[in-house]
Symmetry: C2
Subunit: 233 residues, 2 copies
DNA sequence: AAGTGGTCTAGACCACGGC
DNA sequence: CCGTGGTCTAGACCACTTC
C-alpha cells in the first residue's frame, strides 16, 4: 500500500535513516527491495536507487544483487578529512599566513626516503625545508623531497615566494598517493623551528604522491603543538 | 563532433581524469558542459552527470549552475578515513584481538567532559575505562563517558565481555557527531596501561556522538606507540 | 532573462550471485 | 535459472547563479 509520497532522493535517504534510527530496521535487517520502496514512496526506482546507493557508500547500508539491501552491522564510521593548502588552513582560522624557505638543495636522500620514493641509485634529488607561519608564529614545518627527474620544471623553481605545496598543486599531475597521520616526539631541530620543547608531542602528516609508478614527491608536515585535525559526521 | 563512444559513467570518469592528468584541462579551467560531453562521448547527459558528480564529490571538479564545471585548483584535499570497530582493526592486521574492562562506574564528569557533552548540573554519568589488545599487547585505551539518561539501556550493560564500542554501534542510534585527531604526550596512567614511557607521544582520537541535541557518548581512544592512521587517494 | 547543473521519470537491459 | 541491484536512455522540469 502506498503510504506517502516522497519524490526526492534526499527525502528518501532521510526516511530510511529515520527508520534505522527508530529501529524499525535494525542492524543486520534486510530492508524492502527498491521496487517496493519506490511503490511505497510513490516515486521511481531510480530515485530510490540513488538514495540507497548514497547510504551504501556512506557505510550505512550493505547491498548485494539478488540478496538485497541490509542495514550495516558495522557502519564503518567514515570521516572525510579536508586537507587544504596550508595557506588556506591558516586563513580559515582568521590568522595571517606567512612562509619562509629555510633550505633548498639537491642532495642524496636518506634510505627511508629512498624506499618510500622507490629511488634505487645514489642520485641526488631536490630537498626543501620551509616554515609556514600563522600571525608570525610557527605553524607547520614542511620537509619535502621532490624527484626533479620526474618533474623537471621543479628544478627551475626557487620556492622563495611560494611554497612547494602551492606550486605542486597547480603543476604536478598525479595518479595516486598515500597519506599517514601519526604522533611523534619532536626532534631537537623541529622543536627549535616550532619554538617548543624538544620531545613535545607533535602531529605529523606524511604524504607520498605518485605519477603511475614514479614517486613525484614525499612531504612530512609537522604541526604546531596542540594542533587538532577536526571533522564531523 | 562526436569523437568516441563511452557509454559508462566509469569510462567517462576515467576519460575526464585522463584529460586533467595530461593537462588538456588544467587546474582552474572550465570544461565543456554536460550536453556537449554527452554528444562527444555518444551517451546521455545523465551518464555524464553521474561521472562529473562523482568527480566533484571527490574534490577533483567544482561545479556550479550557470557558470559550469571547473577543474579544482585544490584537488588533493579530501581523504576519507574509515574508522572501524577496534576489534576489526586488530583482526585486519592479522593479530588476535583481546578486551579487558578496567573500570566501570557512575561518577561526576570533569568540567571538560561536561562541556563537551553539554551536561550542566552535578549529575553522575557512566564512565568506562578499558583496554583493547592485539596479540595480548596493549593496543588502544578506551576512555568513555556514556549519558545513561539519554540511553537508559546502557546502565544495564556491564561491558565485561564486549566493549562499549561494540555495544553502542548496534544499540545507540545517533544523528551526528564530531571527531578530532591529535598528538599527546602520554600521561603516567596511560603510559602504564600501554607499557610505554610516560611522556611518549601517542595518537589520540576523540569522538562525540549526539542524538539530536543530546550527547550520547564521548570517547577518547589512545593508541599504542607508533600507531599510524593510513589512507590512500 | 537565460544558461547550466540537479534531479525525476518510465522503461529497458545487463551483471551478479543465490538457488 | 531467476531475483535483485547497477546502469543507461531520452526527455522533462526545476533551481540556482550570473548577467
Amino acid at each position: 500500500m502506498r503510504l506517502k509520497t516522497i519524490n526526492s532522493w534526499l527525502g528518501i535517504r532521510a526516511e530510511v535513516l529515520s527508520r534505522i534510527y527508530d529501529r524499525t530496521w535494525k542492524p543486520g535487517d534486510l530492508i524492502p527491495k527498491e521496487i517496493d520502496l519506490a511503490f511505497e514512496f510513490g516515486c521511481s526506482r531510480t530515485t530510490v536507487n540513488r538514495a540507497l546507493r548514497e547510504l551504501a557508500e556512506a557505510g550505512t547500508l550493505e547491498r548485494r544483487r539478488k540478496s538485497g539491501t541490509r542495514v550495516s552491522l558495522n557502519p564503518a564510521n567514515k570521516a572525510t578529512l579536508k586537507i587544504p593548502l596550508i595557506k588556506n588552513e591558516v586563513n580559515k582560522i582568521g590568522k595571517t599566513y606567512g612562509y619562509k624557505l629555510i633550505q633548498r638543495k639537491l642532495c642524496l636522500p636518506p634510505d627511508k626516503i629512498k624506499n618510500k620514493m622507490r629511488i634505487n641509485s645514489g642520485i641526488k634529488i631536490l630537498h626543501i625545508l620551509a616554515l609556514h607561519t600563522a600571525n608570525d608564529l610557527p605553524f607547520v614545518i614542511e620537509d619535502r623531497w621532490i624527484n626533479q627527474h620526474v618533474l623537471p620544471e621543479s628544478e627551475k623553481q626557487n620556492f622563495k615566494e611560494h611554497s612547494a605545496n602551492e606550486w605542486l598543486v597547480l603543476n604536478a599531475p598525479y595518479t595516486h598517493g598515500t597519506i599517514s597521520f601519526s604522533a611523534i616526539n619532536s626532534s631537537a631541530e623541529n622543536a627549535h623551528l616550532l619554538s617548543i620543547k624538544s620531545g613535545a608531542a607533535v602531529f605529523e602528516i606524511e604524504r607520498n604522491t605518485f605519477d603511475k609508478e614514479n614517486a613525484i614527491t614525499n612531504v612530512c608536515l609537522t604541526y604546531e603543538r596542540g594542533y587538532r585535525m577536526l571533522t564531523t559526521f
